[in-house]
């Protein structure tokens, strides 16, 4: 794609959970890239598979989950490479790093992670400083005393007052926002090239969230760390991301530069997500929530997975699984493009200057006969009740 090899490349990643009720296809063929110092968003409703995708990169998915296909390369090293053996069984390829290498060379050292819930991510029986220090010692070539110094400096850097005193305190003596700062300090202190932030601000209240985002913005600039930022919040995406991957039911359905995504929205789902954001210039009544709920990943709908809820759905959407590609010229029947620029050209242009080309998975932008297809409106409205019934059945599935 771009001239230089990106920092992280995820290709056709598939992660499944083998439950009693069936196979949950949590991540189903996801591909994206992260360049050096780039902040890439992974956005979608809960259940879209974004967290699983993020954790698959570090091979942190636990039983009964398993990466069943795809490749993840990082700085030229193969973190994940699953291939099918002659009799169809899954095999890890020769190139793939061993568990030990993952542990010593990648986790913490090269890629760090920040989890969603700061209240649960720190061990309650150890001091905060001790925990930060332990990870520094493990992932950087420093002595214990140096690690302690680094930890205190980093705690100060992320805005924890009196870091020397608080170093010896326990997690329960910290507020949620303060704990999240500790986790960020932990991640940065190991000096990784990439930090995976798995909904790090979801559990915080909005003012604290704002402070944390500002902090990350500043620190990202200072340390030039690349980020994969997992969130369900389009507002967060707008604030900090460089490029965005929108996920729906295990698939990336639109990826673009953050400006393109917001100003040249292609996929009906992305558009629906953006419309559901409250804005000061609109009343609550004009808020437009997406109808229905996301179907189960055990049994994804045929064709385009979004067709059960899509306002633009037509007969063809039920049959044809869209390809993930630059939107085709002239096929933009819905007229979402605002300036008449030809999308494929734009994609090529983006690629040329190393930006994320605009890719989308929607049959509207393919020549498969969308214009002549019957509308599926009736089914889309019925999807709400149907979705609920499915959810009831689905609750026990996990």
């Amino acid at each position: 794609m771009s001239q230089s090899e990106p920092l992280l490349r995820v290709e056709n990643l598939k992660t499944q959970f083998f439950t009693e009720e069936g196979t949950v296809r949590a991540v189903d063929g996801v591909s994206f890239e992260v360049g050096e110092g780039e902040l890439v968003g992974l956005v979608g409703e809960s259940g879209a598979g974004k967290s699983v995708a993020a954790q698959s990169i570090m091979r942190l998915v636990e039983e009964p989950g398993r990466i069943v296909d795809g490749t993840v390369t990082y700085k030229g090293r193969t973190l994940v490479d699953i291939e099918r053996g002659p009799d169809g069984d899954l095999r890890e390829s020769e190139a793939m790093l061993s568990r030990r290498e993952m542990r010593t060379d990648i986790r913490g050292t090269e890629i760090a992670i920040i989890f969603q819930d700061p209240m649960e991510s720190l061990n309650p029986v150890f001091t905060v400083g001790g925990q930060v220090r332990e990870f520094i010692e493990l992932n950087r070539d420093v002595s214990g005393a140096e690690a302690e110094e680094i930890a205190i400096d980093m705690l100060r850097e992320v805005g924890i007052p009196e870091p020397v005193k608080r170093y010896d305190e326990y997690p329960h003596q910290f507020s949620g926002g303060m704990r999240q700062r500790v986790l960020i300090a932990m991640a940065l202190a190991c000096e990784p090239s990439l930090i995976i932030a798995d909904e790090p601000t979801t559990a915080l209240d909005v003012t604290v969230e704002g402070q944390i985002l500002d902090l990350v913005d500043d620190l990202q600039e200072k340390y030039d760390t690349a980020f994969v930022w997992v969130t369900h919040d389009m507002g967060v995406v707008a604030e900090i991301c460089d490029s965005v991957n929108v996920m729906y039911l295990g698939e990336v359905i639109e990826q673009a530069d953050v400006d393109d995504l917001f100003h040249d929205t292609k996929h009906p789902y992305t558009r629906a997500l953006l419309r559901s954001i409250p804005r000061p210039d609109r009343t609550v009544e004009s808020l437009d929530p997406i109808g229905g709920v996301m179907p189960e990943a055990i049994n994804p709908p045929s064709g385009c997975r979004f067709h059960t809820r899509c306002p633009d759905a037509r007969e063809v959407c039920r049959e044809v699984h869209p390809t993930h590609a630059p939107p085709e010229e002239g096929a933009d029947a819905a007229g979402a493009g605002n300036d008449g620029a030809r999308p494929a050209d734009a994609a090529r242009a983006a690629e040329a200057d190393g930006r994320q080309p605009h890719l989308v998975s929607c049959v509207k932008y393919e020549s498969v006969g969308y214009e002549h297809s019957e509308s599926l409106e009736a089914e889309a409205t019925g999807a709400f009740a149907g979705g609920l019934a499915e959810m009831r059945g689905g609750e026990r599935d996990e």
């Binding site: 959970f17 699983v52 804005r279 808020l287 709920v293 959810m391 689905g394 026990r396 996990e398």
Partner: protein, 346 residues
Amino acid sequence: MATTPDIENEPSPDREFNEEPAAEQPKARVGWQYTLSQVRRDPTAMSGLVVIGVATLVAVVSFVDGVLFAYLAGFGAFASLGVEQYAIAEALWVSPIAETGAPILRPPAFLTNELYPGEPGTLAHPLGTDHRGRDLLVRLFYGTRIAITVGIVSTGLAMVLGMVVGSVAGYYGGLVDDALMRGAETLYAIPFLVLVIVFMVAFGRNLTFAMIGVGVATIPTFARLIRSRVLSVREEEYVDAARAAGVRDRNIIMRHVIPNSFAPVLVQATLQVGVSILIVAGLSFLGYGAQPPTPSWGQMLSNSRDYMLPNPWFSIWPGLAILATVVGFNLLGDGLRDALDPRINN
């Protein structure tokens, strides 16, 4: 930023789809149908149910038999056998050499023991006989009745009283809570067995007081459990709402607190039946349970102590019977815990 929405906050309360399917757990309260179907699918719970079912059946049959025996004995039947008999099955199977007065310990079928070398047991007494020539299998059967009754009655008593104590303590808090919980702690501080024995010595050395004693001694277990549930339910908004709407405390406890504590109490009760059976066996072993000639497993074990060398089987069977029954209740309890709510951890 401050106005950023949460696209996850959809209005539907039924949404529960989480990122990690693996981490998701079944909900605790999804109605009886669901619970039953979960239990039915759990092999642990089902095997426990089978064991308990068999034991209960045996208990019922031996009960009917005992009643019939008493009725027939009223007419002077069986008097000629000259052994201390207990029921029809026993009377029919009594060993023919019962009159000699010496200990009669028939080995199980086709085995020999040191009292009768060279004379293996017969199918007439498949598990052998006890020291008085009574068929061990029959006595084991009759022991089931005592074990099941005592286990269930004492646990039921403890459950009801524990619910009352626990919900009152948890709901009213403050001094009431302190007093009741200190009381429960006190009961707990006296070793179970000692408490029940002292209780029986004070009130009566029979099975009824054994059951009451074990029941009272078990109150703290249930009281603690209910209290902790009450404390959490009390904070729920719907309870606040009910209180604000002027619903009486008693009704709140009955309508909200107790139903919400149902799952853990049921699990605890099932496991407790097993524990109570073990305790009553211990009591009987020490001579503080069912009094002869009523057969109970603990008492059989106590009798068997003098004959462990010549005939170990006498000691083995009653223990296995206790083990099997208690395993049944533990299996059911574990299965229920998994089915009702996997998050209840002891």
